[in-house]
Assembly symmetry: D2
Homo-oligomer: 270 residues x 4
């Protein structure tokens, strides 16, 4: 079995679903200042050819919110009535250095069947209207039109079209379309392992669940109640352009002990 996995893997076409990371990339207001990299050690600083030979090195320092850029939310990121997934009380797990339970280091690498529902393409729009809430019917209709099925254990990716605005139009990007409550319920019913979208939150910005009054319904439902991960700020443009609806999905969050999320470079392989 091993050889053929190696063979298939090394021969696969790889789609890179991570947006580039740079100071000034779009960031949710709650996660400002977001991301900053400073190159402080430059090659000439360590270049001492007479004493130390021809080698020199350079390096920098990174300051970042764990919810900047393309990233995966840990289960500890959200709670319902101060309880996280599995009924863990927030007070029992919060420490200055992060969560003692349900931190991102507890998330296994995701190696899953992946499905893209290109709702934006299916509706023949370059991107969906700002704050449009993708419905369950949208997801079901798009899946039918694409001829794909969402199965238990899958990673379900939904395209709004806003990923194309990553570099350079933060205001529009932050005012994206997203998946409505009904769409989120549809995904959860299919028992996916994770969901992801090419916007800041999967959810529709500021949309309130009429039942509970909470914003970001998926954050309330999928993480603390269902244990389903959310991946944000994906780049789904190439995948959609090539009409790759089904693929092998890979994402391996970093084991940042106690953190509430991790940057990831998700891949789709076909």
């Amino acid at each position: 079995m091993t050889p053929s996995l190696i063979d298939l893997l090394t021969a696969a076409r790889v789609y890179d679903l991570e947006q580039p990371r740079f100071a000034g990339m779009p960031i949710h207001p709650a996660h400002r200042p977001g991301y900053f990299y400073a190159l402080h050690r430059r090659h000439r600083d360590t270049y001492r050819p007479a004493a130390q030979g021809p080698r020199s090195s350079a390096s920098g320092v990174l300051t970042m919110m764990e919810h900047s850029g393309t990233h995966l939310d840990a289960l500890c990121h959200q709670a319902k009535e101060l309880k996280m997934f599995g009924g863990v009380e927030v007070d029992s797990a919060e420490t200055p250095a992060g969560f003692s339970k349900l931190g991102i280091e507890t998330v296994p690498p995701l190696l899953r069947r992946g499905v893209l529902l290109d709702v934006c393409g299916w509706r023949n729009e370059s991107r969906l209207s700002p704050r449009y809430g993708i419905t369950a019917d949208d997801l079901a209709g798009c899946a039918t039109a694409q001829g794909v099925e969402v199965r238990s254990g899958d990673v379900l990716l939904v395209r709004t079209g806003y990923g194309a605005l990553w570099s350079g139009d933060e205001p529009t990007y932050l005012d994206a379309a997203g998946v409505s409550k009904a769409g989120t319920l549809w995904a959860a019913e299919r028992m996916v392992a994770a969901v992801g979208a090419d916007n800041m939150a999967w959810d529709v910005p500021d949309e309130r669940d009429p039942e509970t009054g909470s914003t970001l319904f998926a954050h309330l439902y999928l993480l603390p109640q269902k244990g389903i991960y959310i991946i944000e700020n994906l780049n789904l443009e190439e995948l959609a352009r090539d009409r790759r609806w089904v693929f092998a999905f890979l994402a391996a969050p970093l084991k940042l002990e106690g953190a509430t999320g991790s940057p990831v470079r998700p891949l789709a392989l076909v």
Copy 2:
């Protein structure tokens, strides 16, 4: 082809080669202060059930050197006579925000045949002597004993045994064994895509190349001259315990624009 890749991938046994990340983990002196995560937003801070429903969220801020923890070096990390890989002059690429060429964002995801040479196990030692330099003969002998071949394009991982000391014994960890110049040349001759080890540098700490006078020979040779990536601070304990010498190797560095390296969570699949 796609379905079978999905099938094989989702059925694979996954070995996680990343060491956990926490404040106080071993760090090379050149990369202090290393790593720090602060959880500043806690659930009760955003919990306003009457006004905003039952949802709350938590998050933190991360300060880290890109060469902390398990990570992959970008080609811009090292230079020879102030030239990086491909002859790129360091002065032409350094900016306050990182390198305009050869930054970590230019490294493709690594999906490769992987080979582990468990030199430490082959020599029946729990770990090699401090500062022992693994020779070409060691690598060749170990490969023969394990019955494996290192091929062009592979990711070659070498086990010193020091990875077992990650959590709790920084002084010993920093004084590890590594791969000598001859061992590095042996790997390069096999035209591997990347090398990695369960120590801080792949190289032997402080060992000087008699020819050039430089420390960290592999950093001088593999990165600026051969374009071969180096992965550091791997956890190879489980892989060795299970005697998995050949596997599908996956590592996807983050596209931190201009950075000289990236944390990674490398995986071995069998």
Copy 3:
């Protein structure tokens, strides 16, 4: 002598010239992301009354550009033709950890006669027009009207009126009035020890010196050529309201070794 200094000092009326520091305060685009404080250790985290008694503590972590908020520029912050004050070549002093010469730690505490020229008040404006360049005649006229003299060794503060916009109107604040080239020359002729203003840069934003083509003339002239310090983002509102034109000025930059500036809390005592 000592007792009377103590007596006078403890009896003095103190004007606080520092703007408050908070995430989101105005920041020059070159110094983004500016300022961020995260409280990560909270009292309950260390509260273990049974084992450790009733004491608990809290603390946080600060990430900041040294040119954020009210601050003083070190001489190494600026160069003319790659030479800093005293002809020090930039290449001879730059290191990853800061400047080995002319860093902010070399700046003595400033305890000086201070003079405020309230140009904005003198012109009966609540604030000067955006990008208005305060001329030498403005400064001389204002000094005459106020009946004050600027003397050698003084700290000269100039009020544009923009300091009142610190909390809440970054775009207008960044588009402030400032001191023109002629005004800067007038100050330098008086051989002041330092200048300061209630805007981002003392200088007029984006104004170019017709002779050299450089923006920020005072940054080119005062720091590398004259050794005169610049203090930015002052709050001069109370001082102006009370018409305190002459006072004892105090500011003590932190000895951040090698840094190009330091936050300060300047005081005016009368």
Copy 4:
């Protein structure tokens, strides 16, 4: 009155009581990683003489705990039974961005009569024994021998001799002498405005108050119960050498909104 304050201030001999700040300076384990400055923007990065004239600039980024180096503790830094000074409940004031009450921005500039009790010099020791607890009798005896009186509203500084070890001997520095419970009570009885010492904490490391079981008695008593500030990591060497027992004391903490302390550059003027 103003002119003479200016005259006295500008003529004063200034003693700088701040220790230099650099990566690797001593830090209390609770406040690691402490302090880090990275110079990322160098002069050549902005030097474009043809297009922009001869001016260039450099700057960096600072990451620091507010309790690193010479600093002043805010009242919110400590609590007794989860109540801070004035009975403020910690839960009512903690936010992700700091304290909404009793933050360092509420501390006025300290311009006070200052008194140095050089206990170490009085006992003819180069520094006191590790973990020696300075008693009330020590303070009273030293004051008598020096011929000075500690008065209400003073800033009281106590010298252990450990300040001389700031640069280069962190283990010894962290194992310093300090002021015992009785010494702290003696200071508080004199109704000083602030206390300070040339060690990490004023208090004796790890000494427990037999009555409450808490370590750092002064942190429990002075901050939450008495509203007396604590200044740590002072450099008192020059002041002691010159036998300056009484002086004008100045320290102006930065208005870091919500922070639990601030770096300061305290001065003694005679």
